[in-house]
């Protein structure tokens, strides 16, 4: 009588067990990695917009300060996208016949808003406020990157909870004087921590890490 199992069966079984355990483990690990890297989260990919608005030109060349258009960042949870009227404040005079600006003029005339594509989106169960960050010395560039070098804005930070907590637990390397908050090219003179500590003391910075700080 031939043996019920031939000699390779043990190896086959071991292989199968390894697969049964390994595949879920590897896929789980893969998913977790994916959830944390640019590929999974879709950042570092410039987002197309209905109007080819170029921050390189406006923020970079012309040196228009961030707060000129995103003034809400200083006094509201949301930084805000400027109303069409503000675009037309200049573009009624300059480039007022450019075909690229046609949607802007149309919005100005018929009062219907431009529909921009959101680049930095947090989940709905997160409550985030620009106001407190900007008023406590966190610079625009810290989360949004060098917007003045982007043709189309893209997300440069993971915006995950772990990333938020990193700074909330130890904010000193990231703080800057209030005067430099909107300065995209500012670098701390010397040790970043030293500057940060001075700012922390001056602005009374005490970031919180309780769940209810952001989730309610």
């Amino acid at each position: 009588m031939a043996p019920l199992f031939h000699p390779g069966t043990d190896s086959l079984l071991r292989g199968l067990i390894a697969l049964a355990l390994g595949v879920p483990a590897v896929s789980l690990a893969g998913l977790l990695l994916l959830a944390r890297n640019p590929l999974g989260r879709g950042f570092f990919s410039p987002r197309e917009q209905p109007v080819e608005f170029d921050h390189r030109h406006h923020a970079g060349d012309e040196g228009i300060p961030c707060g000129y258009c995103h003034e809400g960042a200083w006094r509201s949870p949301v930084a805000g996208v400027p109303p069409t009227q503000r675009c037309l404040g200049c573009h009624a005079q300059v480039w007022n016949e450019s075909a690229k600006l046609e949607p802007v003029r149309a919005s100005g005339f018929d009062g219907m808003p431009l529909q921009w594509n959101r680049v930095h989106a947090l989940p709905d169960y997160v409550w985030f406020s620009h106001q407190i960050h900007v008023n406590k010395g966190v610079g625009c560039v810290t989360c949004h990157g060098r917007v003045d070098t982007m043709a189309a804005v893209q997300q440069v930070a993971p915006l995950t909870m772990g990333w938020c907590l990193e700074c909330h637990r130890d904010p000193t390397p990231w703080l800057r004087p209030l005067s430099e908050v909107a300065n995209l090219t500012w670098r701390p003179p010397g040790d970043a921590r030293e500057t940060g500590r001075a700012v922390q003391a001056a602005l009374d910075v005490h970031p919180r890490t309780n769940c209810n700080t952001c989730h309610f």
């Binding site: 998913l31 994916l34 959830a35 999974g40 989260r41 879709g42 003034e71 809400g72 006094r75 509201s76 949870p77 949301v78 805000g80 996208v81 400027p82 109303p83 069409t84 009227q85 919005s107 100005g108 018929d110 009062g111 219907m112 808003p113 431009l114 529909q115 921009w116 594509n117 959101r118 989106a121 947090l122 989940p123 709905d124 169960y125 409550w127 406020s129 106001q131 407190i132 008023n135 406590k136 602005l203 009374d204 919180r208 309780n210 769940c211 209810n212 700080t213 989730h215 309610f216």
Partner: protein, 997 residues
């Protein structure tokens, strides 16, 4: 299973039972339902369970296997990237930014809401143009910062998808401009308006009154007929009898002795009562209590709050008032009053004693008392109360009538006569739903068809709209320009918060303006012109107008006190031929404590709000006393046939302890037939028993069993804290005799493990709820629902104890079921410092913050419900199904600062942490700390009697700290060692000193 109280007797209760003197033997037993009282009866088993059977059953119609298949399929379809990448979103900035608006920062606008002809000033929060929360206006005399259930819930009515959208003419849909043309044509007439009739709701609005006057001037023979289901108001007829002309009575009950005859002023259901409740409770300081005497024909919140309560049949009020007047008259030298006698055997011994003692108390506090009478009582009772008040030097606060036109049910009767005689060619109805809400014998619904042209202006396509070929959809108050007057006459401007959601909607003023010949002007222009005229076109009108709009009140417009002399002889003369007492069953009709006259029947928040007294949701019921129910062989849920003068309805029975014997009380406002999906066919239409000459009920009712049964969605046994008496009440004598009686409920007991320290030394949040001030009006519940996006679960859900209210109000009866005491106790998450829920969560979804909050993290919650199991206070709520409404209109309403929870997630009171964080943000950005008073929770803000205090225990001299140190404070279930951050304060009673036997 023995009750925990048997194993671990609560120390304070044991003490009370051996307390020396003062008290009748034995502690008063507290209970929530008759089933609980008769322990061992059929409800006993249910009481020992956390949730009723079926609470956790899956939804029907979708088998588990099908559900799993669907779930798997949708997972595959969505793809894994759905787990990480946010779905694409659009940002739509303003094209032209509104002035003064920063996106993300809510604005607040002063406006108001009118019903019962009077206005309550409100402040409405607006997020980028969407009204999201209604709050009281602190500057307005009828609100003083508080807001009742109707004001709060009116927000849901604004976003009601069942609202009427298009105008109709001759039954076909037309644009408003076409309808307006037709109206203008009806207004070009030469007969002086002989066939022109307006059926309107009495209103205090100067603008609408000016329209009335202008139309009257143009058409001298036109008539305005007042109609509202809250008419007739006995006080108007009472002032006519006593003072010779109709006057308004302003409730001023902030007095040392208040005697109420069927006046439920603490329920805060009508404008002016928020103020009355605050005044009354302010005069009830624990150190110097006033005394409330209530005789009432059904159990109400005011009766529950009374120091001395007496049950009476509705018809006995006359006899009580006569006896009171006689007692007071005899002791004040008013011979005419002293000569009054109640007819022979009308009053029982207990009632006579009640009157004697109340009179004695009033006489001992001359000039500091008040006799107040409910609107349902006839003119004579009001007039007698005025006579008593005047005799005692408690002159009532009278003002010339705020609302016009003045009138009762006779006005509608005469209109029906004219309709039948064919004298009316054009009938314009702006009053709310007269076909539904008119008396059954008025014949209005049939006579209406005799008017060739009849226009109805209403918010919904309701019962009246069905009979009117011409229809104009109304704007919601938050979409309209108007003005209004508070009960004390103070004028205010009511501004819109949002453009009409349904563009076809028009305002009442626009309809009237077509008849006034002013159709070319917008309501805004009409309003502004009127006020410019009223101020004599002063040069600084524009700036004053802006100021009025900003504050919501026109300064110095309170009406002067009316000069009126009481005609005692007329009152006494009217009292002579008093009717003999009635025998048998009596019907009492009341305005519903949640739906008012039925206008809020389409409002899901109000439908699901438990009635403050009966704890009934999604229904009305015939209320019977235990003795009467026994006699008639009826039990809770039995369907009975109520027959009065040949008219009958079939209504489920609810046995209500404290209800007077032989009195059946049924609330109006239910049983709507055309109201939209929410209120359709909910409850029983009590208007079918309403008669013109007996608008608030009558004797001669017959009640028979039908054998049917109806499931009543009662919440009184839900979330029971194991039968322990938790709402504590002491008489002031007891409390003063033993101020340390509560010590064991205030101090920590020994514990096995040390407490986890609270890290923050800047803030420690806490709340205190003063039962001494809580009337149980439920304004806090609706405020919480609006602020925190709390969903509604429907009647089936409530029957399974799945209601989602974060804040509930427990109502306990005390003592004898026939005539019990009542106490109400708001309970929300008490934020235990040693929270039992936190130990058992397997995923750390509920954890403690350094500032003492018990945090609930929705995105971590996997729905095991262990926390709810382990919560001794039963304050956690689970989303068994996807309850949240995600229709576009519903999404507009929701508070953007609060996460909208989905199925399978636990939730509970957060101490309005979104308000804490908003306040923190503003304060810290300005480089300061949150100050005491910066954060007010929604429930605290709405409370008319300031029963709820919230704040920081570390702030020196904060209000909440004071209450936490008050000798009356106690911790709920202190023996469990949970150290709750919300403490309750004992309610004190001030019963009249008992005389000898």
């Amino acid at each position: 299973m023995p009750l925990l109280t048997d194993t671990f007797p609560l120390p304070v209760l044991q003490d009370a039972s051996v307390a020396p003197a003062a008290r009748e033997p034995g502690p008063v037993r507290a209970w929530r339902s008759l089933e609980e009282w008769h322990a061992g009866g059929p409800g006993r088993e249910a009481l020992l369970r956390e949730l009723p059977p079926g609470a956790a059953t899956p939804p029907e119609g979708l088998a588990r296997r099908t559900f799993l298949q669907l779930a798997t399929a949708s997972l595959a379809a969505a793809g894994f990237t759905g787990c990480f990448r946010q779905p694409p979103e659009k940002i739509l900035p303003y094209a032209l930014p509104p002035e003064g608006l920063t996106p993300g920062v809510p604005l607040h606008f002063a406006t108001g809401m009118e019903w019962n002809g009077r206005t309550v000033g409100l402040v409405v929060e607006s997020h980028e143009g969407r009204p999201t929360k209604v709050e009281g206006n602190p500057e307005h005399p009828a609100s003083q910062g508080a807001a009742g259930i109707f004001e709060q819930a009116s927000l849901l009515g604004l976003y009601d998808a069942a609202r009427a959208r298009t105008a109709r003419l001759q039954g076909t849909e037309v644009a408003w401009s076409v309808l307006r043309e037709a109206l203008a044509q009806r207004a070009t007439r030469t007969d002086g308006g002989a066939g022109l009739r307006f059926l309107v709701e009495p209103t205090g609005s100067p603008l609408v009154q000016a329209m009335f006057a202008r139309i009257q001037e143009r058409f001298p023979r036109a008539r305005f007929i007042p109609f509202s289901a809250d008419l007739p108001d006995g006080s108007v007829e009472g002032t006519t009898l006593a003072y010779g002309r109709p006057l308004d009575v302003v409730h001023d009950v902030g007095r040392a002795v208040v005697v109420s005859l069927d006046d439920d002023f603490l329920s805060t259901l009508k404008p002016g009562q928020l103020r009355a409740a605050r005044d009354f409770v302010a005069a009830r300081r624990p150190e110097a209590l006033n005394r409330l005497w209530v005789a009432e024909s059904t159990l109400t919140l005011t009766g529950a709050f009374a120091d001395e309560r007496s049950r009476m049949k509705p018809s006995q009020a006359v006899a009580l008032a006569l006896a009171l007047a006689a007692d007071v008259g005899a002791n004040t030298g008013h011979a005419a009053l002293a000569g009054l006698r109640p007819p022979g055997t009308t009053l029982g011994e207990a009632q006579r004693a009640w009157v004697r003692e109340a009179a004695k108390d009033l006489l001992a506090h001359r000039g500091q008392g008040r006799v107040t009478v409910g609107a349902r009582q006839p003119a004579l009772v009001h007039a007698l109360a005025f006579a008593v008040d005047e005799a005692l030097g408690n002159a009532p606060w009278l003002v010339e009538p705020v609302a016009q036109p003045v009138g009762g049910t006779e006005a509608l009767a005469s209109l029906v006569g004219e309709l039948r005689a064919g004298q009316v060619d054009t009938l314009v109805i702006t009053a709310w739903n007269p076909v539904y809400a008119s008396a059954v014998d008025s014949g209005f619904a049939e006579a209406l068809a005799l008017a060739p042209f009849r226009l109805y202006h209403g918010l919904h396509e309701d019962e009246t709209a069905a009979l009117c070929p011409a229809f104009a959809p109304a704007t919601h108050p938050y979409e309209s320009w108007r003005d209004g007057r508070a009960p004390d006459g103070t004028e205010s401007l009511l501004q819109p918060l949002i453009a009409p959601l349904f563009p076809g909607a028009v305002q009442e003023v626009e309809v009237l303006a077509t008849f006034a010949g002013l159709e070319s002007k917008s309501p805004y222009a009409l309003l502004k012109d009127l006020w410019r005229e009223r101020t004599g076109a002063s040069a600084d009108f524009e700036s004053r107008w802006e100021a009025w709009l900003g504050v919501g009140v026109v300064p110095d417009t309170r009406a002067p006190r009316a000069r009126a002399r009481l005609d005692e002889a007329a009152v006494v003369a009217a009292a002579r031929p008093s009717a003999p007492p009635s025998r048998g069953l009596e019907l009492g009709l009341v305005l519903d404590a949640r739906l008012y006259d039925g206008r809020f029947a389409g409002n899901a928040w109000l439908q699901e709000l438990p009635d403050p007294v009966t704890k009934l949701t999604w229904d009305n019921a015939a209320l019977l006393s235990p003795a009467t129910a026994r006699r008639l062989g009826l039990e809770k849920g039995d369907v009975a046939r109520l027959e009065l003068r040949g008219q009958a309805v079939e209504a489920p029975v609810l046995v209500l302890p404290g209800q007077p014997d032989d009195t059946v009380t049924l609330a109006l406002g239910h049983g709507r037939e055309r109201v939209g999906p929410v209120g359709q066919g909910v409850g029983v239409n009590a208007y079918r028993l309403r008669h013109l000459d007996a608008p608030w009920g009558a004797p001669g009712l017959t009640v028979t069993r039908t054998g049917g049964h109806h499931a009543l969605a009662l919440t009184q046994e839900h979330w029971s804290m194991d039968g322990r008496p938790l709402a504590l009440q002491l008489t002031s004598g007891e409390f003063q005799a033993r101020p340390l009686a509560l010590k064991s409920l205030q101090e920590d007991h020994e514990r096995l493990y040390p407490l986890m320290p609270m890290a923050s030394d800047t803030h420690q949040w806490a709340m205190a709820i003063d039962l001494h001030r809580c009337t149980g009006c439920s304004a806090c519940m609706v405020a919480c629902q609006a602020e925190n996006n709390v969903p509604v679960v429907g009647k089936d859900g409530v029957l399974k104890s799945r209601e989602m209210h974060w804040l509930r109000i427990d109502r306990y009866f005390l003592g004898d079921p026939d005539d019990p005491g009542v106490i109400t106790q708001p309970v929300a998450c008490v934020h235990c410092e040693a929270a039992p829920c936190e130990y058992v969560c397997p995923v750390n979804a509920t954890v403690h913050s350094d500032e003492g909050l018990n945090q609930m993290v929705y995105n971590r919650c996997i729905g095991t419900r262990y926390c709810s199991n382990n919560c001794p206070y039963k304050v956690r709520r689970f989303n068994y199904l996807e309850y949240q409404q995600r229709e576009p209109l519903d999404r507009l309403r929701q508070n953007p600062d609060v996460t909208v929870r989905s199925r399978g997630v636990m939730e509970k009171c957060t101490y309005c942490v979104q308000r804490i964080e908003r306040a923190r943000l503003v304060a810290r950005s300005a480089r300061r700390d949150i100050l005491d008073g910066d954060v007010r929770t929604a429930c605290q803000q709405a409370c008319p009697t300031e029963a709820i205090t919230f704040g920081d225990l570390l702030a020196p001299a904060s209000a909440v700290k004071r209450r936490h140190e008050d000798p009356r404070h106690y911790r709920l279930l202190n023996n469990l060692g949970t150290r709750p951050r919300t403490v309750h304060l004992v309610r004190l009673k001030n019963p009249a000193p008992k005389r000898g036997p």
